[in-house]
């Protein structure tokens, strides 16, 4: 684990140069289409013919495919098993194994659900691969997102690995003092405290000082914060974003239209 949590891969592609809000809007639009758009094959199509090509355009194709499959294959396998076997109203049995029978309606539903989730997670994955977290947070903050939220997200990304490292160190220290992580249930439960206690109380003490530090640096000053880094935005992108919004509205209309 590097010293921060981030999917970001540094490249100089078109996608990387796009304004973060544009990419975020695209992600939301794709997700909306996948869940509410017409057509059984739409979500799968969006993944194969929109997201994957875009990822290669962004120079992160291999990372994208590899990570999206790694993240979701376990979920899909599970989904397929559960829904193929237990989907209510499934009648068309494909084959049976002992007391379980696989129904085609279940499999079909599994495929649809899986492809929708695939679009959802991989849209954000693509966003994160091509957008530096601070660029994304900066842009949102500039457009009115609360500075507090931006602060919370970016500091979580950095502080989490630090604390995981501390937890590892505590684990090692306790093991060398003879802490056994095996044994029966009672023994294992007892090991919880010496592993968790030092970390929790240590990090809670730090909090007060960190609060003082950010106050001393003016975080709670009332004026609207400026930004060191300028995130460019272009007119074509703004038009594109409105176009995406229109697409969402059209899809909503399609869904609601009683036909």
């Amino acid at each position: 684990m590097s010293d921060r949590l981030s999917f970001y891969v540094e490249r100089s592609s078109l996608l990387h140069r796009l304004n973060p809000l544009t990419k975020l809007t695209l992600a939301f639009t794709l997700i909306f289409l996948a869940f509410f758009g017409p057509g059984y094959w739409l979500p799968a199509g969006l993944y194969l013919f929109v997201l994957i090509p875009l990822s290669f355009l962004g120079g992160v194709g291999k990372d994208f495919v590899r990570t999206s499959l790694r993240l979701l294959l376990p979920l899909f396998l599970f989904l397929f098993v559960m829904q193929s076997l237990f989907y209510p109203g499934g009648k068309t049995v494909i084959f049976s194994l002992w007391i379980f029978s696989v129904k085609s309606e279940g499999m079909a539903f599994a495929f649809l659900t899986a492809s929708r989730i695939l679009v959802m997670v991989s849209s954000f994955l693509l966003l994160f691969l091509c957008t530096h977290p601070s660029a994304l947070m900066n842009d949102l903050a500039r457009r009115g997102a609360p500075a507090a939220l931006s602060y919370i997200i970016t500091s979580t990304l950095q502080i989490l690995p630090q604390m995981q490292a501390k937890a590892s160190a505590i684990q090692d220290a306790q093991s060398s003092r003879g802490l056994n992580t095996g044994g029966n249930l009672i023994q294992r439960t007892r090991s919880l405290l010496p592993l968790v206690g030092p970390l929790v109380f240590g990090s809670l003490v730090d909090i007060e000082e960190r609060a003082i530090a950010i106050e001393a640096r003016g975080f709670m000053l009332p004026e609207k914060k400026t930004s060191l880094i300028d995130i460019p935005d272009t007119r074509p992108e703004a038009i594109f974003r409105w176009g995406m919004l229109l697409l969402i509205l059209l899809t909503t209309g399609y869904r609601l239209w009683p036909s």
């Binding site: 010293d3 001393a216 000053l221 060191l228």
Partner: protein
């Protein structure tokens, strides 16, 4: 007019019966370097917090007495008024990293962004701070990938970039190794030479004795000494109050007992003084 004027300041933390600070009188001129020494729990940190406004505006509690610093009156101002004028750097370098910036350069910009400084002005100020604290070659690194001394210099840079009129330092080298301490002391020395008003709580007596203009000794929230370092450090009652005297003073005192150091000669605090004193005493 002194840039810091504290009169009869008494402070109780919330729900506390004994005051952390009691009847503190203090005056600091612009450009002066005041060192604050005392045992643990003597009130050094509370004094630092009072000077930077965190007492009482962050910690609540009861503050009596007067404090005027950099043109503001603590009873009529809020924490934000202090933040614009008084800088605070404290012991733990890790806890002073905001966490929300991914590079040293941006970390320094954090304070400027909060002050709503125009971006065009930011770069020049940040570059100046990088040079002042000697961390220019670390500008692209993650703040978490630095040594303690480097992080503390980053903390200094991040506060100084906001151009405070007074700098308060609460034992900035306590958690650093000797190399880190030396790096930080160097920066503070340079700042003082450039005319910054500094109040520094510190344990490493020898160092502050060499550079401070004046020294304040605290014990249990009260002032028991206020004057030039050489005067203060020769006071015999210091050890009872748990104030570490310099090693050189101890040696000279022992020598005094053996008749090797004249009883009318002032006890040394620094190595230079000790060497000079012994050279003279032993002919």
């Amino acid at each position: 007019m002194a840039i810091i004027e504290m009169r009869n300041l008494t402070y109780h933390y919330p729900l506390a019966e004994t005051p952390a600070l009691h009847g503190i009188d203090l005056e600091v001129q612009q450009g002066e370097f005041l060192a604050v020494v005392g045992a643990n729990g003597s009130g050094k940190s509370s004094l630092c917090y009072a000077l930077s406004g965190f007492v009482p505006h962050f910690f609540k509690g009861k503050l009596e007495g007067q404090l005027n610093i950099a043109g503001i009156d603590t009873h009529q101002s809020g924490l934000m008024d202090f933040v614009r004028r008084v800088g605070l750097v404290f012991q733990n370098p890790f806890n002073q990293i905001s966490g929300s910036k991914f590079s040293v350069y941006e970390e320094i910009a954090f304070g400027l962004e909060n002050l709503a400084v125009p971006p065009t002005e930011m770069r020049a100020r940040i570059d100046a701070m990088l040079d002042l604290t000697g961390i220019r070659d670390l500008a692209d690194r993650s703040p978490y990938a630095l040594s303690g001394g480097q992080q503390q210099r980053l903390a200094l840079a991040s506060i100084l970039v906001m151009q405070p009129q007074v700098l308060i330092l609460d034992e900035p080298t306590s958690q650093l190794d000797p190399i880190g301490s030396r790096e930080v002391f160097q920066v503070i020395k340079d700042l003082s030479r450039q005319g910054m008003t500094i109040v520094m709580a510190e344990h490493k007596i020898e160092w502050v004795a060499e550079f401070a203009d004046r020294m304040l000794v605290l014990s249990q929230g009260e002032i028991i000494g206020n004057g030039k370092p050489s005067e203060i450090l020769s006071l015999p009652q210091l050890p009872e109050h748990g104030v570490g005297i310099s090693r050189y003073t101890t040696v000279a005192r022992l020598a005094q007992k053996e008749g090797l150091w004249p009883s009318d000669q002032a006890l040394p605090v620094t190595l230079t003084e000790a060497v000079a004193g012994f050279q003279e005493a032993l002919g």
